[in-house]
């Protein structure tokens, strides 16, 4: 905790707010993953943590290290860019796989392919 004492009060309050907001979004996302009813509803919940949660946490990290080092440090943005690019890809692959498996089993909960497809 010693190196953080160099932070001025406004930066400390800003970083605290960002970190708390980010953790709260990730928590709500995982709570949704636990509580929602079926797979296609559950897919939506964790993306709250990967988008807003990561955004606020990275904003807090950027603020903290930029003020601590006295120069702008932006390479945390790499994590944000990477997660923003990859989350839709992984979830699309996963949902396509889940839809395929449900159709193979003849489940009535998913729309079936019409014969002309």
């Amino acid at each position: 905790m010693s190196r953080l004492d160099a932070l001025p009060p406004w930066a400390a309050i800003l970083v605290a707010a960002f970190v708390l907001l980010g953790a709260l979004f990730a928590f709500v996302g995982s709570l949704g993953l636990l509580r929602l009813e079926n797979f296609y509803q559950r897919v939506h919940a964790p993306t709250l943590g990967t988008t807003l949660g990561t955004f606020f946490m990275l904003a807090g990290s950027i603020t903290c290290f930029s003020v601590l080092h006295g120069r702008p440090i932006f390479y945390e943005i790499l994590i944000g860019v990477f997660l923003t690019l990859t989350t839709p890809i992984t979830l699309m692959l996963l949902v396509r796989a889940a839809l395929y498996r449900d159709r193979e089993e003849g489940s009535q909960d998913v729309p079936q392919l019409t014969p002309k497809d």
Partner: protein, 93 residues
């Protein structure tokens, strides 16, 4: 006073993220199907990366950001491979 606030906020955030990780683990154990487990693993690595970022803020070291980047990379590769496996029954064909 504001530094006590920052320390308390980081600890509360870490507790929230640990709870989020345990929710993901519960979902991964309970299932009910393979795609739910893969989804829970995806949420778990994102939460672990966020937890690592809060540890980095607490210790004031930039090394943890690079570790978070590596977790994001490997987690993406793992989830894509598992989804491919669920679709086809094999990863590389």
């Amino acid at each position: 006073m504001s530094h006590g606030l920052l320390g308390a906020a980081v600890i509360v955030a870490q507790i929230l993220l640990l709870l989020a990780m345990s929710f993901s683990i519960i979902r991964m154990v309970r299932g009910p199907r393979a795609q739910d487990r893969v989804l829970a693993l995806d949420a778990l690595y994102v939460n672990a990366m966020l937890l690592l970022l809060t540890v980095g803020i607490r210790s004031g070291s930039l090394l943890y950001v690079e570790a978070g980047l590596i977790i994001a990379l490997l987690g993406f590769a793992g989830t894509v491979a598992l989804s491919k496996f669920l679709m086809r029954g094999q990863v590389i064909e």
